[in-house]
Symmetry: C2
Amino acid sequence: MANPVLVEVLRGSRVESVHRGAVCVVDADGATVLSLGDVAQPVFPRSAVKGLQALPLVETGAADRYRLGDEELAVACGSHGGEPAHVAVVERMLARAGLDSTALECGAHRPSHGPSAQALVRAGRAPSAVHNNCSGKHAGFLCVARHLGTEHRRYVDPNHPVQRAVRSTIEELTGVRLGANQCAVDGCSVPTWAVPLANLAQAFARFGTGRGISAAPVDAASRLRAACARHPFFVSGTGRFTTVAMERLGERAFVKGGAEGVFCCALPDQGLGIAFKCDDGAGRAAEALMAALMIRLMPLDPGERAMLDRFARPVMSNWNGIEVGRLRPSPVLLSK
Amino acid sequence: MANPVLVEVLRGSRVESVHRGAVCVVDADGATVLSLGDVAQPVFPRSAVKGLQALPLVETGAADRYRLGDEELAVACGSHGGEPAHVAVVERMLARAGLDSTALECGAHRPSHGPSAQALVRAGRAPSAVHNNCSGKHAGFLCVARHLGTEHRRYVDPNHPVQRAVRSTIEELTGVRLGANQCAVDGCSVPTWAVPLANLAQAFARFGTGRGISAAPVDAASRLRAACARHPFFVSGTGRFTTVAMERLGERAFVKGGAEGVFCCALPDQGLGIAFKCDDGAGRAAEALMAALMIRLMPLDPGERAMLDRFARPVMSNWNGIEVGRLRPSPVLLSK
């Protein structure tokens, strides 16, 4: 059976396109609060689990050893826009571990932040691996490798001690044993592990509350959440949904998206974890959907609600600035 | 009922994302050759009907009066990449009608052809309306307005004589009466008219064969098809699917996509018209789907088939050039 329509795209008064998907919201005990579509189907969480992938950085002691502050921890959890301030923090992390950007194995791409990409072009410089949106996560992996005293080259390999530690952490938080048949290669060359949405949602309920997991990741998760709440700019970038939402909501929401329409969120005050995937992988739908879910699940003041509503129902304007349509959550998301 | 899955996106060995949609293939008599999903639902065809929108340019005599050659006619049917050669032809068209790029009302955006966009940044120049992918179509509209002796300003308005002529042409070819409730504003500010896929497919069967329509659009369609077959670079741009496909197949296929996952195609030798829309609006799925349909419906030599197969089953590589997945047509498309 097809998953339900979650987001509609209107042009004028007509629905022009639709985005289907599955959504799961659970509490830290695993009780289901909301379930739409097939939440048992394993999905690749991609960058939506960077928060989980960063836990070993704190748990192993690498973050303390290399004196990483909140900015470094936030960029390790983030998909940054390659803005100069992002690049500077990643380079600082690498220097603390005695490395430089040549150690990054994420591959190079242009900054996703347009003005930063154009500045590189004007300067006649090619983008490097440090501009890759995942370079903060990779710098974190390199810190862990150096701290563990292992060869850091090929830290992206599923059998490298760093990736084995990441896999164990994801297994503990999701409660899913991860085998080779759940593994694929992410855009930045590290493994991505397919996990059912229900388990991803529970992992984020645990990440947000500390319930149901051992002491080490509880402390690490708390530190990462605080770092991201203090420096949400380093989790994404100027004007982006996750940054704007966390700037406004602080530690009340830890929210992170990934490629192909996946999003995860911890709402510590509500004791909830959220995970969803848009079937078609559309990022535009994913942001609108997460904003709509936060409106539904969080107590909000009018200003907070208006901020989220701008992302839940974004206006689409054309090249002349004429409003031609908008996105909106489908009725199934609005009913309580 | 949900439309069927038409294209699957694999990461490793797992299906990571899927694209649903509806497909209609008909002959010039309106007999259905292939129908998948809801083909009675009106869809906005967007730029997929630029070929139909360009018919009045030839029918009215404007193309002859302003001595437009095949390059100009092709760019009037196209969504170009803003490459320097595209811009030059559009500027030439406008000059022939005694205008310049300030008359364009499509709005400005950066060239979609990356190197051309970067060259503008390096030169410190802002993109102008002539770089808009629709500037060729708009230059054609301006030629019609000048030829008709009407005020050319606000030629984008649904009630302007140019847009009324375009609407009549689309009504004749699709057999659908177009009222205000089927109208919305396209990305380039002209009207886009919602039409069922079955009628769009028939319009392209007629566009390709000349059957079932009056003499004037038959001749105009023939001239536009020949122009695009001779200069497919001006219909899209370097390395793009529609350009590459028409470079190889010549007048055997007139193929054009539009925003939000719509594609139309005329196969004159088979007497067929094709129209589809991906429900979610995904361009990546639309290209793969059109290539798969052309493989299914056209007699091809091995080289032609291999060319289309590269677009039907594109490999996805990550930033390190590692193959991480691919797109593939779903089984429903492959069965005869």
